[in-house]
Amino acid sequence: MPAADSTDTVDTIEDPVSTEVRTTTYAKAVAAALRTAMHADERVFMAGEDIGIYGGAFGVTDGLLQEFGEERIRDTPISEDAIVGMAVGAAITGTRPIVEMQFSDFVVNAMDPLVNQAAKLYFMYGGNVEVPMVLRLPGGGGTGAAAQHSQSLEAWFAHVPGLKVVAPSTVQDAHDLLLAALVDPNPVVVVEHKLLYKQEGALTPRATPEDSPAVIGEAAVVREGTDLTVVGYSLNTHKALDAAEELAAEGIDVEVVDLRTLRPLDTETVIESVCRTGKLLVTHEAPTAVGVGAEVVAAVAGSRAFDHLLAPIVRVCGRENPMPYAPALEAATIPQTADLVAAMRALAAEDV
């Protein structure tokens, strides 16, 4: 494993139920949700590689070992299959595990417990058992970590009935959706882009998991506009917003929809937006083919929004190659804000 990008996170142990509004980072918002859940419910525990004294590869769990002890903040061997399988077994017998996969890429070693076990037990056992577990997956590229430490694998999980998949983009959503995942009786995969961890934003911390207003399965219109709809999630929501801001100076009015949840997908919010703007651009960092964006496009094409479309639908997603190491190649593989600006400008200019 390459040296992980160390991120400053929780500097001091804060009041566990402080609901004071503050400006903080995405990583600290995640940590605050973890602490809230651990304080609210003693059945909640965490497991993962180097999440204890090390604080996690990205520092998200920094300080949690000191606060909750090693029974509940469990450093594990490098055994992804066993970590996730163990979590499934724990979830069906009365506890609520939260697993941090060190890099989302490593979840490939745990596909059996995630896809064949966690996703299926409730259904397969006739509803007689619930699997309330949360799997956090730090993913995405742009960190120079190359092909095995940079992937965006969310489409795999979004393809599996029985799993829920969330991909929060903001500090507040990172907090609220994680809490929502923790009170959900189903296995929830939380996709966290590594480049978001240091992102700052306003956070209203929730006192208990139940106080989270987030609903898994609801997208949000994060910028209203009339000329075209851009749909993204996770880091690409920010890129879309940055591009929209740039185009606003040119008089192009862009609406941005943040999916927030990838399964179940809130297609209605997207369809409504496209009915208003008549143009759709979808963006994600994961490779284009068979990505989550394809599902969004299919949903729009098969809906009443079809009659409102004024131009062909555009996708600005990842290139069809493994993540390269060299900076220029990596940048070319990942959709950049400039790529979005160009594509959005062209789409806006399409003759109506």
Binding site: R43, D81, G85, V88, G89, T93, N116, Q117, Y125, G126
Partner: protein, 326 residues
């Protein structure tokens, strides 16, 4: 206290009746299959009854089991009712899983049966998590993890054993070595000569048992479970047994001889051996033994009769079946 002690008359009667119930259950499935009433495949455990009955009888109420694709015997030995089991295999609404699981997914979580599993070694890591839960919740329950000789060559075997050992969790890993992983002979697939021998890698003793001797299995599991319950960590046991039938319905038995099968059936059958021993040692008389057979036969006959009359599930159940709701 273990649920039943096969060295005592009442425990012996219970064990014998359960062994017969498993055998009659499996035979009834063959019958239903030959009549075209089962639409999926199934994996029969005829010949392996002593492992399931000895092991589950050595547990205490409140303990858990995880099972395998060849799991009917484990379920019955852990207390499952044959009627909803048949209903499940027949794809009926009244089955343990409402007809959604079938042969390989029978579970009865309420009674501590965490389910059969269609993935070889798939339940081994789940057993570790169930054991961790027990410790975190302050329970003294142990988890009995059945797995086959084939599973011992999966990576999950290693990860599960290692994690249970470093965390000192109360899991009794019981390898039901029926000597073939589908067609692959265990001694050709298993480096090092035995599954039990691999225990040394995890600091575990690793004990081989005669899997066709219900008393030997019961004693081995009781000892391991007691140690696990006292906080002395996991155990690895290997029970040597034999399946008489093929792996599944597609099996033409091309990888072993009829002589080999006959030798196990006639000389080492776990039920016949147990009955002979009970008679010889005077713990049960012929009448009691015949009674056990009769009880099992009637139990299975009644269960099949009821199950075949149960309704099939309606398609509308699928809508609400995928996700649990708060």
């Amino acid at each position: 206290m273990p649920r039943h002690d096969p060295t005592e008359p009442s425990g012996a009667l219970e064990a014998l009746t359960t062994m017969w119930t498993i055998r009659r259950f499996e035979e009834a499935l063959e019958d239903l299959y030959s009549r075209g009433m089962l639409h999926g495949t199934n994996h029969l455990s005829i010949g392996q009854e002593a492992v399931a009955v000895g092991a589950c009888g050595a547990l205490e109420d409140g303990d858990f089991i995880t099972s395998t694709h060849r799991g009917h015997g484990h379920s019955i030995a852990h207390g499952a009712d044959p009627e909803p089991m048949f209903a499940e295999l027949l794809g009926r609404e009244t089955g343990y899983c409402g007809g959604r699981g079938g042969s390989m997914h029978i579970a009865d979580v309420g009674s501590g049966n965490l389910g059969a599993n269609g993935i070889v070694a798939g339940s081994m890591t789940l057993a570790v998590g169930a054991a961790l839960s027990q410790r975190l919740l302050g329970s003294s329950a142990v988890v009995l993890c059945f797995f086959g000789d084939g599973a011992a060559n999966e990576g999950s075997f290693h990860e599960a054993l290692n994690l249970a050992a470093v965390w000192e969790l109360p899991v009794v890993f019981l390898c039901e070595n029926n000597q073939y992983g589908m067609s692959m002979a265990s001694d050709l697939s298993t480096a090092g000569g035995s599954v039990a021998g691999r225990g040394a890698a995890y600091g575990l003793e690793g004990v081989r048992l005669d899997g066709n001797d219900v008393i030997a299995v019961a004693e081995g599991v009781a000892t391991a479970a007691a140690a696990a319950r006292e906080g002395r960590g996991p155990a690895l046991l290997e029970a040597i047994t034999y399946r008489y039938r093929g792996h599944s319905k597609s099996d033409r038995n091309l990888y072993r001889t009829q002589d080999e099968i006959e030798e196990w059936r006639t000389e080492r059958d776990p039920i016949a051996r147990f009955e002979a021993r009970l008679l010889e040692e005077g713990r049960l008389d012929r009448e009691a033994i015949d009674g056990a057979r009769q009880t099992a036969r009637e139990r299975i006959r009644d269960a099949v009769k009821a199950a075949v009359q149960a309704p099939e599930p309606t398609v509308d159940v699928l809508e609400e079946a995928v996700y649990a709701r708060r």
